[in-house]
Amino acid sequence: MLNGWLRSPPVPVAQLLAAESATLPQQITFGILAAVMTISALRVVTAKNVVHCALHLVLVLAGVAGIYILLAAEFLAAVQVIVYIGAIVVLFLFGIMLTRAPLGRDSTLDNDQRPLAALVGVSVIGLLCALLVDGFGDKEIVLPEVQRTEEVGLAIFQSYVIPFEVVSVLLLAALVGSVVLARRD
């Protein structure tokens, strides 16, 4: 159990050098994914059609899964797709449906705080970017071996079993809570 608290052993140099040559496709993939995600995210927050927002959200989420794969987190990617796209977005759509959201164009989807929100958003982006550039500079990610589900599972059930249990309870609470909240009586 204590092993999980330690870092993974560093990647051998040879593997690193070997992995270097695979950079370019990853970059391109990353670039495409980033562009798609960004545009989709923008569309999420600016689309006039609620369902379009949901669909764009699907694209963003899928892009995120792709990022995960780029980062050698295949289990997480799978989970992302299953949970987020498969369940959460569906949930969103249910919510849209249940709240009689206008399924067509709706020009009043934004409130009057748009400039301030834009300002805040842009400033946050800017700040974060500045911080990141300043903080992390040219740090490279040297991918480790692909982390299989086994490692994740081991980590969860050995090192992080308590958070796992807590999350379980949280899910239970959320389930119960939403049922309680949403029931009709």
Partner: protein, 826 residues
């Protein structure tokens, strides 16, 4: 030097003196007690308080006689003395008239035992020098030693603050002892006299209380050791004079006279206070009279201060002792009761000024250079004191001729004699002046009491027209009055002769020739007017009313009653009844208007038997004092006859000898010549009145314009009253008072009002601008700001979550930015 040592050995010290001398304060205290006791208990006593006064003043008199006896037993010390000729020789002879060296010459033997004064040290040094200078400088004159009884002084500290030391004490020397005796003696006789004269008076108790207080004041003054006490006694006497003159103040004439007296003497009192203050500073911050005198003698007082102080003090003397130009109050002061006039306006109070000058004589002697003031060849020396005295004695003598009221004649006579005393002080005849003061007290009191006795018998009239031939009806009064007149006219061997002669001697010997002439002229006038008075009063036929109706008519009427010759004799019985009836109705008449009849006394005929409406002799309360005073008028003069010189020796005091006041010796020439001149005046008046020889001048005032003008001038008292009243007083009341009022209202009040207006305006300004606008504005602004801020911030609380979230995230981003920037450098 041997003489010096001998003198030192036998000199009595100041620390030991007979008991009464040490406790001399008892004498003024007894008189002072008379005042509150009479006021407190007088009304309940049968005699209305006169018993208290008689008892206390009588005791004081006995004590003062005992004091005199014990003082006579005091040992002497010797001081050098210069005769007038010697002094004269010094300025024209060898020592060339240097004032300073002359002042130091006369100090001969040492005087020790002066107590804590430090006096002895100074005179020691001076004495030694003087002695030397004497033997080397002035050859050929005799320095006769003067035996002086050293004074005794007891002083308590009244107030002390650093170098300023104000003491309160009693100073006893020959002069003071003589004055104490005189005041007590005459006061006692006046008390006795007043028991009859003011019997049944409306304010008898207050009268006796005032008499007692006055006596206390005068006694305090004559035994004073500091100038403060002199001022104290002076002012007490001024107050009592006011009270006594205005005794019957219900008549406005009397209260006006009292006010006039008070104000006029007050004018002089300015000089008293100023002079005493100057002397305080000039003599080295001391009020002690002996020290002041010593400082004056030693020349330690700066010349300017000395002259100013002497002038100021002399002004006080002019006011109090009724000298020209402030003499106008004394004749009007005759509105008071006659015994009060006898006491205070003849014998004691008016001489307070003379006494003060005599007491502080070295100051005047040095200031006016009385002993070496030889400016003019023929007439000799001149100085302000002598001039004023001479003027006074001459003008008063002239005025006495035209008076129709016997008391006014005596008043002017008093003014004239005061002029003699002041002139005597002015010419350096110190002993002569105070001797005249002494004798004048007796015979003038005698004359006033005689006048009172006369009026007492002549239905309380003082008008000469009502008199005449009274020697038949009032023999005792007549004889005593004649003795007094003789003393006043300086008929030898009566008192006035010796005392007036000493003054004349001083004038002659000290080189004041002009004043010798003036005083001789004054003697002529004196004899003249007194002869007139005597004739009109005692000789001739009685021309006053003597029937009841006429008496009553005369009492109530104005001038019309007088001059009616009522020679019809009334049957004695009927007149007796009338007189009895007249007596009975006296009661309500005691407050009748006294328009012309000055100083009506209230009813009370005493024990004298009515003589059928004609004037009668007065009872014993009145005649006994007259007789006593007549005896004194004879005796007091002879005691200072040349060869005997008892008074001179008794009153010789150190400051006078030390100052070098000359002591002239008897000169038969001057004595005879002055007597002759005086009696010439009496002779002329005798011829005029008694023999009716008019030298063709009868009725001249109605024929001759110049004579008429002169007569009117005299009758109107040289228009001095008009001058004072219309020019000075109206001038002050009118324009000056108006000016002062204008100044007060406009300038002073303007300043004050302006200050108030300024303060008010400024206050309003501050209120409006600063308080309301700025301060309140700030306070309100803060409130408004808070409100506005709240209102503004309220806009934030929209309830819209997304807005909150925006602010939250924005704030967090800002915070992060700040943090980033802060840590940027590190």
């Amino acid at each position: 030097m041997i003489q010096l040592i001998a003198a030192v050995a036998e000199a009595p010290s100041n620390t030991s003196a007979p008991w009464l001398v040490e406790q001399v304060w008892i004498i003024p205290l007894l008189a002072a007690l008379s005042f509150p006791l009479t006021l407190a208990f007088g009304k309940r006593l049968p005699g209305k308080g006169q018993e208290i006064g008689l008892a206390l003043v009588g005791t004081a008199l006995v004590l003062s006689i005992a004091l005199g006896a014990s003082w006579a037993g005091r040992g002497h010390i010797e001081l050098e003395e210069h005769s007038a000729e010697a002094i004269h020789a010094t300025y024209t002879g060898t020592a060339a008239g240097d004032g300073e060296s002359k002042a130091t010459e006369e100090h001969g033997a040492e005087t020790t035992g002066k107590g804590a004064e430090g006096h002895g040290a100074e005179t020691a040094g001076k004495g030694a020098e003087g002695h030397e200078a004497e033997t080397t400088g002035e050859a050929g004159h005799e320095a006769e030693p003067v035996h002086v009884r050293p004074y005794y002084e007891s002083e308590q500290t009244w107030y002390q603050n650093g170098p300023i030391h104000i003491g309160f004490g009693f100073h006893v020397d020959g002069f003071a002892v003589v004055m104490l005796f005189t005041v007590c003696f005459i006061s006692f006789l006046v008390h006795l006299y007043s028991t009859e004269y003011l019997r049944g008076d409306r304010r008898q108790t207050h009268y006796f209380a005032a008499l007692g207080l006055f006596t206390a004041g005068m006694l305090l003054m004559v035994s004073a050791s500091t100038t403060i006490q002199v001022i104290l006694g002076w002012e007490i006497m001024g107050l009592c004079s006011f009270m006594l003159i205005g005794h019957w103040w219900e008549e406005s004439k009397n209260s006006n006279a009292a006010l006039k007296a008070f104000f006029t003497t007050r004018t002089g009192d300015i000089g008293l206070l100023v002079g005493m203050c100057i002397l305080f500073f000039g003599a080295g911050q001391t009020f002690n009279i002996a020290k002041i005198n010593q400082a004056a003698i030693d020349g330690n007082i700066q010349r300017t201060l000395l002259v100013c102080a002497a002038a100021a003090l002399f002004v006080a003397c002019i006011g109090k002792s009724a000298q020209f130009p402030l003499h106008t109050w004394l004749p009007d002061a005759m509105a008071g009761p006659t015994p009060a006039s006898a006491l205070i306006h003849a014998a004691t109070m008016v001489v307070a000024g003379v006494y003060m000058v005599a007491r502080l004589y070295p100051v005047f002697f040095e200031a006016f250079r009385i002993s070496d003031n030889f400016q003019f060849a023929v007439i000799g020396g001149v100085n302000p004191i002598a001039i004023i005295g001479a003027i006074t004695l001459l003008i008063a003598g002239g005025l006495a001729f035209v008076q129709t009221d016997i008391k006014k004649v005596l008043a002017y006579s008093t003014v004239s004699q005061l002029g003699y005393m002041v002139m005597g002080l002015g010419v350096g005849a110190w002993t002569g002046a105070i001797f005249h003061l002494f004798t004048h007290a007796f015979f003038k009191a005698l004359l006033f009491m005689g006048a009172g006795s006369i009026s007492h018998g002549v239905f309380h009239s003082f008008e000469l027209e009502d008199y005449g031939g009274l020697r038949k009806y009032m023999p005792k009064t007549f004889v005593t009055f004649m003795v007094g007149t003789g003393a006043l006219m300086a008929v030898p061997p009566l008192a006035g002769f010796w005392s007036k002669d000493e003054i004349l001697l001083g004038a002659g010997k000290n080189g004041y020739g002009l004043f010798l002439v003036a005083s001789a002229l004054g003697a002529t006038l004196t004899c003249g007017y007194m002869t007139r008075v005597v004739y009109k009063t005692f000789f001739g036929e009685y021309s006053g009313p003597h029937t009841p109706e006429a008496i009553e008519h005369a009492e109530h009427a104005e001038h019309e009653a007088h001059g009616h010759d009522d020679h019809a004799s009334v049957p004695a019985g009927m007149a007796a009844v009338a007189h009895g009836a007249h007596q009975a109705e006296r009661g309500p008449h005691d407050d009748e208007p006294a328009a012309e009849h000055v100083g009506r006394s209230s009813p009370g005929h005493g024990a004298g038997a009515p003589l059928g409406g004609y004037p009668h002799e007065s009872p014993w309360n009145i005649t006994v004092p007259l007789i006593v005073l007549a005896v004194m008028s004879v005796v007091t003069g002879v005691i200072n006859a040349p060869g005997l010189l008892a008074f001179t020796h008794f009153t010789a005091i150190e400051p006078i000898v030390a100052a070098g006041v000359p002591e002239p010796h008897f000169d038969i020439v001057i004595a005879v010549w002055s007597t002759v001149v005086g009696l010439a005046g009496a002779g002329v008046a005798y011829l005029w009145f008694f023999k009716e020889i008019r030298f063709g001048l009868d009725g001249i005032t109605s024929r001759n314009k110049a004579a008429r003008a002169g007569y009117l001038f005299l009758v109107n008292k040289y228009y001095l009253d008009e001058l004072y009243e219309n020019v000075f007083i109206k001038g002050i009341k009118g324009p000056i008072a108006a000016g002062a009022y204008w100044f007060n209202q406009n300038v002073i009040d303007g300043v004050v009002n302006g200050a108030g207006w300024t303060a008010k305006t400024f206050g309003n300004l501050v209120y409006d601008r600063i308080d309301q606008t700025a301060v309140d504005g700030t306070v309100n602004g803060v409130g408004a700001g808070a409100r506005g801020l709240g209102r503004g911030l309220k806009g934030l609380a929209t309830g819209r979550v997304q807005q909150y979230a925006a602010l939250l995230i924005g704030g967090a981003a800002a915070g992060a930015l700040v943090l980033y920037l802060v840590t940027l450098g590190s």
